[in-house]
Amino acid sequence: MRRLRAVRQSRRANLILAVVAIGLAALVPFFFAPLSTFMNNAVLALAYVVMALGLNIVVGFAGLLDLGYVAFYAFGSYTVGWLASDFFAYINGGKGVHVIAPQLLSSPAGIHVNFLLIVVVAIVLCAVVGALIGLPTLRLRGDYIAIVTLAFGEIIRVFAFFGDDIRFGKHYLLTNGRQAISPVDQIELPLLHQFDSAFSLRPYYWFALAMVALVLFVNFRLRDSRLGRAWIAIREDEVAAASMGVPLVKTKLLAYATGGALGGMAGAFLGVYYNSVNANQFQFGFSIFILGMIILGGLGSIWGVVIGAVALSFINTYLIPSLNDIPEKFGLDFDFTTLSFGIFGFLIVLMMVLRPEGLLPERRRRLELTEGMGAGDEQLFEVRA
């Protein structure tokens, strides 16, 4: 009984914290100019929070290291590219297909679908892709999963890169390769004015914040659900979980699908926000960028991941460029921004060696790490004197 009460209490605390945090965050745009650099970076940070929370489900909850998370960014973005631009310009005899389309279009040709529908499509598509990527990894463990997901991510990048070589019929390409699909329709929500990133980034900020709120809700509810507890059980000990009756196949596939769906949602948003879908965005480094966020914050800890994502994205947009005059002072000549991934790599190594549980660790996860249990026979390596 006492335990149940504790769970309820922590749930209420999380709810209050979430309401306060999101309420405060919603006021932030009033303190900054609608087109300021800060607003731009804040929107990106929120989108990365959604991505990181998605990856956290796969890596943090279920303990399946996914190094190909960028695939969902790609699929989410391409859903926007395909369904909200003049990319398929010849469809329907050049007149285009419109489904509750925004009123201000750059060109009527091509497919134009309302963004809310696109998000739904992206979520479904990425959930299916996630499960498909997960399928071959079901028999594998640990490192092999990482490699298979990485291979999938790279294959998808190759197809995004050279998709302009793949033709369907006479006029239709798979992607536009490194020439971006651009412009993309802006978001238009029912009862609201159409968003226009040329005049104000505030609507995008609030939309991203709403996504974060939704994803936070999903994350908390999932973690405390039967499924979430099954994920954590698999992470802690797969064999024990299976013998306790956790269906491994279903549970793992659901982790991949949920993580993928959230990534796709954020990917679709980023596609619209950047107003272009370019194959150069879908590099392996992006997967590591997101992975760095959840490691910084604490694998499996929801608030930790939020903080890690915001921190790392601001490190990326503010701290690293601000370091740029340092090399000059020492008479050196290099640009810190080109080394940003090296800095992320360094952060990852530093965190893993010094504080593997992250900035804001989940209590359970810390126990796992300090007890040195985990996947089984790691204790064999107690070699240090």
Binding site: V59, G63, L65, L67, P136, T137, R139, L140, R141, G142, D143, Y144, A146, I147, V148, L150, A151, F152, E154, I155, V158, F159, F161, F162, D165, F284, G285, I288, L291, I295, L299, F334, T338, L339, F341, G342, I343, F344, G345, F346, L347, I348, V349, M352, V353, P356, E368, L369, G372, M373, G374, A375, E378, Q379, L380, F381, E382, V383, R384
Partner: protein, 354 residues
């Protein structure tokens, strides 16, 4: 009573079991033969004979020799601590940069005479091997050893982190765009040809460096005292420690050997490809890892075999399907192997892959 008789009966063979056995044993081999056989037949059908395919296979093997040397490093490390040393490929890249820098230091240019060239290249080989080995041992000391007791995910993540650090060292060193290095050995010069299949300088070099190195390494691991310690540690670290083996030193030594091989590969690569890039290490690492898995990870001969096969697949894909799809083809093979035969061609079932 009845239960006992049921248990005593041998398991009835289901229909299709023979097919399944056959596929699990030879499926991967058949799968690997698909590309060469298909394109070979197509060439014969077009009246070109088998010479084009032969050329591709020769280039593939010499290219694969490089992957084989890198794959050995993966397989040794995986065999002993079950860790994918993600930074291995980038370490190899650092080796290529070291070799290129040494060209300048030693004054090796296109004008150098043959004796000077041979001496210089031997010096390059030694230095780049030493450089890669040192880096590898250092990475192990800094990023993997502190995490011996941590869950498996932890060292893998630091490995990825280190891979990025090394890539950025490369960017700092030579910038982020590709650059070409002098073609010291005239790598595309046809030395001789057999039945329409031409052998280039680079092919001879790759084989001449790889074969002795791999032979030496196998001898070392099977004959020497420390090789024995490595095998013992790979089998059971706990028991090895009880037998008085210094497990930490042995693991460091494994990284050293892997680094040596990667260093040798890096010089061949620099001479062979004549274009270097900070990102080439990451790609090479993935390809070599595919090779190691294909051969059966933890198995030395397997890694070499896998490297050669991947080299051939790559050449065929480059020339017959289109160079831009090669990466996708190699990774598709990787996924297929992981799914259908995770123990690889020569490997045994492991805990990871079981």
């Amino acid at each position: 009573m009845e239960a006992a008789t049921v248990a005593a009966k041998p398991v009835a063979r289901r229909r299709g079991d023979a097919v399944r056995d056959f596929l699990s044993r030879y499926g991967l081999i058949l799968f690997l033969l698909v590309l060469p056989v298909y394109f070979g037949l197509r060439d014969i059908g077009a009246g070109r004979g088998l010479a084009p395919l032969g050329n591709l296979l020769v280039q593939g093997i010499s290219n694969g020799a490089i992957w084989a040397l890198i794959a050995v490093g993966y397989t040794l490390v995986y065999g002993i601590i079950e860790l994918i040393n993600f930074a291995h490929g980038d370490n190899f890249m650092i080796g290529t940069f070291v070799s290129f820098t040494l060209y300048g230091t030693l004054g090796l240019g296109l004008g150098a005479g043959t004796p000077a060239l041979v001496l210089g290249l031997v010096a390059c080989l030694v230095v780049s091997m030493a450089a890669c080995a040192t880096t590898n041992v250092m990475i192990e000391r800094v990023a993997y050893r502190p995490l011996r007791n941590a869950p498996k995910l932890a060292p893998l993540i630091t490995a990825v982190g280190f891979s990025f650090i090394l890539q950025n060292v490369g960017i700092l060193w030579f910038g982020s765009s590709q650059f070409s290095v002098p073609d010291l050995i005239h790598s595309q010069h046809v030395l001789f040809s057999v039945a329409g299949v031409s052998i280039h300088n680079s092919d001879v070099l790759a084989v001449a460096v790889t074969v002795p190195l791999v032979l030496l390494l196998t001898q070392f691991i099977t004959r020497s005292r420390i090789g024995k310690a490595m095998r013992a540690t790979a089998q059971d670290p706990e028991a090895a420690r009880l037998m008085g083996i210094n497990v930490d030193t042995t693991i460091s030594f494994t990284f050293l050997l892997g680094g040596l091989m990667a260093g040798a590969a890096s010089l061949i690569y620099a001479l062979y490809q004549t274009t270097l890039w900070y990102f080439s290490g990451f790609q090479a690492g993935l390809i070599a890892f595919t090779a190691a898995v294909m051969g059966g990870i933890g198995n030395l001969q397997g890694a070499v075999l896998g490297g050669l096969i991947i080299g051939c697949i790559q050449q065929i894909a480059d020339n017959k399907i289109g160079a831009q799809w090669t990466a996708a083809v190699v990774f598709a093979y990787l996924i297929m192997i992981m799914v259908f035969r995770p123990q690889g061609l020569l490997g045994e079932e492991t805990r990871e892959a079981g």
